[in-house]
Subunit: 662 residues, 2 copies
Amino acid sequence: MGTLNDHHQYMYPSNNMNNEKCKSRVAVPPPQPFFKSLQTSFKETFFPDDPLRQFKNQPRSRKFVLGLQYFFPILEWAPKYTLDFFKSDLIAGITIASLAIPQGISYAKLANLPPILGLYSSFVPPLVYAMMGTSKDVAVGTVAVASLLTGSMLSTVVDPNENPKLFLHLAFTATLIAGIFEATLGLLRLGFIVDFLSHATIVGFMGGAATVVCLQQLKGILGLTHFTQSTDLIDVMHSVFSQEHQWRWESAVLGCGFLFFLLLTKYFSKRKPMFFWISVMSPLISITLGSVLVYLTHAEKHGVQVIGSLKKGINPPSFGDFVFNSPYFPVALKTGLVTGVIAMAEGIAVARSFAMFKNYNIDGNKEMVAFGVMNIIGSCTSCYLTSGPFSRSAVNYNAGCKTAFSNIVMSIAVMITLLFLTPLFFYTPLVVLSSIIMSAMLGLIDYEAAIHLWKTDKFDFVVCISAYIGVVFGSVEVGLMIAVTLSVLRVLLYVARPKTVVLGNVPNSICFRSVEQYPEAQTVPGILILEIGAPIYFANATYLRERIVRWVDEEEERLKSSGENSLHYVILDMRAVTCIDTSGISMFEEVHKVIDRRKLQLVLASPGGEVMKKLDRANFIEKLGQEWIHLTVGEAVGACRYMLHTYKSKSTAESETWSNNV
Amino acid sequence: MGTLNDHHQYMYPSNNMNNEKCKSRVAVPPPQPFFKSLQTSFKETFFPDDPLRQFKNQPRSRKFVLGLQYFFPILEWAPKYTLDFFKSDLIAGITIASLAIPQGISYAKLANLPPILGLYSSFVPPLVYAMMGTSKDVAVGTVAVASLLTGSMLSTVVDPNENPKLFLHLAFTATLIAGIFEATLGLLRLGFIVDFLSHATIVGFMGGAATVVCLQQLKGILGLTHFTQSTDLIDVMHSVFSQEHQWRWESAVLGCGFLFFLLLTKYFSKRKPMFFWISVMSPLISITLGSVLVYLTHAEKHGVQVIGSLKKGINPPSFGDFVFNSPYFPVALKTGLVTGVIAMAEGIAVARSFAMFKNYNIDGNKEMVAFGVMNIIGSCTSCYLTSGPFSRSAVNYNAGCKTAFSNIVMSIAVMITLLFLTPLFFYTPLVVLSSIIMSAMLGLIDYEAAIHLWKTDKFDFVVCISAYIGVVFGSVEVGLMIAVTLSVLRVLLYVARPKTVVLGNVPNSICFRSVEQYPEAQTVPGILILEIGAPIYFANATYLRERIVRWVDEEEERLKSSGENSLHYVILDMRAVTCIDTSGISMFEEVHKVIDRRKLQLVLASPGGEVMKKLDRANFIEKLGQEWIHLTVGEAVGACRYMLHTYKSKSTAESETWSNNV
């Protein structure tokens, strides 16, 4: 046994450790009353941000004010509003309005809705958001992907050209449903559902959607009047190239020209951030230029389609237009749920990233409620689905907005446009709108993020590409379905297949670490140390049981074939097992039985409080023996080696000592 | 700073630690070629049992033999079969046959199918299983819950009394689909899907199903001719008590008498395991007694219903009976998928537990293939869904079976019954069958397991009771849906809300553990140590970011209000973070930014290999600085305290030193 002891020098006094065993006994956490522990875990699950913290120990009237401020954050920041803030917000608001007007009209076309709806949707919802939102940077408006989705999903049952009124009503209904859904999720504090859309799937899905939107613009740019209803690459390409003789060079020249102009200003602004307003103004400039050009050349008579007359006046009420009894209601329901989640996910991601930049906090659940209420009110005032689009919010941020007041400024600017300026859009060529959409969409194809995914995580890359291919070659819904399925499957796979690794002693330290990560780490003869790499639930208990038994099998085989000392102890490092359920406990009982039957001893190292509590309640600690549970792997190894030593040196009275020790 | 140093005595030489920092640098695991790591993780995910191990380094002919043995384990054990084995298997086989015959007939009634099908289903499938199964103890036959489900699900579209032929053909089709589904899952090695039914849900679901089955037997016991088609408690009770005047006392007396007899023998056998065969034989005895009684008293003319004539002869072929073109095919499909999973889950659980008892291994995926093939062949030979029922397998085990040969013996015994003995069942009263079912079902209501769940894990108990209530008050499908939804939701909640705990130094040790678990553990002034309790995925990255920031907030507030030293370092103990994805990495980047902006320093302790690899690839290690990553929490604390000390003692040149150190 001398060689064994000299094999490596542990830094801890192994004999001491054994004498003091009781001192460092692994604690079962002090018992908590049932309802308190229930309350704690409920709070950690649904109120991790502890939103009611500020309400504690406050008089009643103060609580009322705080409650109002909780739901209407404007009451909190408005009293502290200064003239400097106002100046900044005014500039930012006018800047985003100049982007919102052309973008609104364009995206409404994308959703197969009348262009005026895009303006309506930039008037009411921003007002609501300014009162209820917690973000200082989000600029509210319609979003491209949700617009496309609304258009394509509703088009499957109602043709927007044949029955525009029903189509419009379905869109309002879908918006209402999206709003109710978003607000409900927020109130029930189920915001974490959004987290199940992983970054990789969002990159792939957004890229795919942007590609699809760009492809759809070929209709406008080539001046085609007939076009396929489906969105997949093959159908669109077929539709484009089967109508070669219908291509309009006037339209194509205009479109490509404006697209070039827009991309150029974008590129320029990216190089010189000072001039970001050039790219912000370029859509409005394009629209003005295009309209003037068409007016002067009468190009509308030569195949360049124009918007035509827009109704003057602000949003008409639309709460009488909901179609709950229509046979198409289920489609509106589905559209509302899907687009609601997508739009909300984008809005919250945008709000979060800007809050991160400026170092303030946003409340995800409050944001959801704000988005929801703004869509509910929007759906009653002729607006369709809105959220916080990235492009507009980035412009808001760059223009130096200070509070959500910039949304109010934008809203007023849009109102003025609606009241007085709509006739100016009569000659605006549709092809310019297509160029605006295309230039915005090209920025969403985030190939750099895809390359980054490839470099850091291959599986994430596969998920991303699958979502992209699903959207581009299938449909937006297929892509979304693939993305969500892969995301959930990935979570389930993570849970179902936790890592187990063999640990060894890192030289010159008392640490035991993965022999894979530290090739120089040395295993201890006669002892197999396994780390279980995740909490143990029913979903992975069976796997873990089989995997642990296989590790033991393999180790015994290896030792037998190499003629080394036989195995005596199996130490499970439980550090990463932060929680466990009843299936996990039975797993331990079964592993204990199997290991026992092979005349080996199971030893647990550093189990957490939660695990100790449950093992104790299930009487497993008693069954195993408290002396086989140690605070650290080092202590466990020390104890095992001590036993091994005693056992070996007294090998004459083998059976006796063994039974005493084990 | 003196007080700080004396505050507790760390066992490690903290200055030493700093000098040797480079020695115990946290390793990035050696890079692996992409395809090798892909192969490894693929293998760990789908082939954790390494089934092809034995094929390595074998000549071609040997590989062929091994391959055959792989799919037909009988080829492996048959050559080693001995006379002793045969004796044991013969007794066991005859024992299970005596149970299989009455049970088969009873369960077929439960599925609204002709009683003879129960016998057919105990003839062909056991033969197939004997060749392909890996378990030595599973006895194949029809299962109660799957029978009930088949009956109730198909009854929703076809009335078994009005159109028995179509009903039968739908049952065959459902069986075929179940078989194909099971075999496919096994071949694709997706067996882990079954693991997502947690133990708690199975206890609740099985208990509920048993209750429902018992309630259905009131029809037979009370001799009612009309009965509700639905299975929920309220409907059944209404149906029973609205027909009070139709209750048949002859039937009730017979039924209660036999039920009493069966339960008595069961109780007796439980007390004296030697006499287990008494309870095994009691169903056959009941049937014999009941038949003789009816024959002698001609009770069939006084309201006691009897089985009537059964067709002589073995299974007729049924592969022409599948109804793929029927409008009811979708229902058959659904029935097949649901019952297939349920039956398979029971069979595999049974196989696993007996393998655990006898210390041999079964291969879950092979079992699935065996169950699948036996159902595919079964559906072509007039059998309906079979699996490995617990009751019959337990009898097989208790009767001392040695190999799957006992299934062949049972099969032959059933064949003899089919060929010669069916006329004997003419006078068997249905009420006896009801008693047999009831006594079997009462054993499935595992209230002890429910109490155990309540004691160890309240949430598991809630899941269990919900499944039970869903089945009993809703329907079997509702209960199953609730059970699966709750199980998946539980996994998602586990993943979405990992634990984060504050660590403190356990006195007289170098360990840092949860201050909740060890109330005596002491926190280190100026340093906040957090343990992250799970792998970090997209599903919990947002939560963790917000939770970590909140911990820091709260700690700073606490220190401010108590007037203690301010916070300088935040140490994240990464021991439990065994893997991470790209969202997790961005989470770290964001946390780093937030902590940096507050003039605090982020320190990582003991990150695993996988995590280091990915952090390295994402250049996070560079950004953070290799010197802020430590092998253990102890080392990290040592380094921080050293820095803190240097900083404090040189407080005259504060800013300078600070910037140098941080």
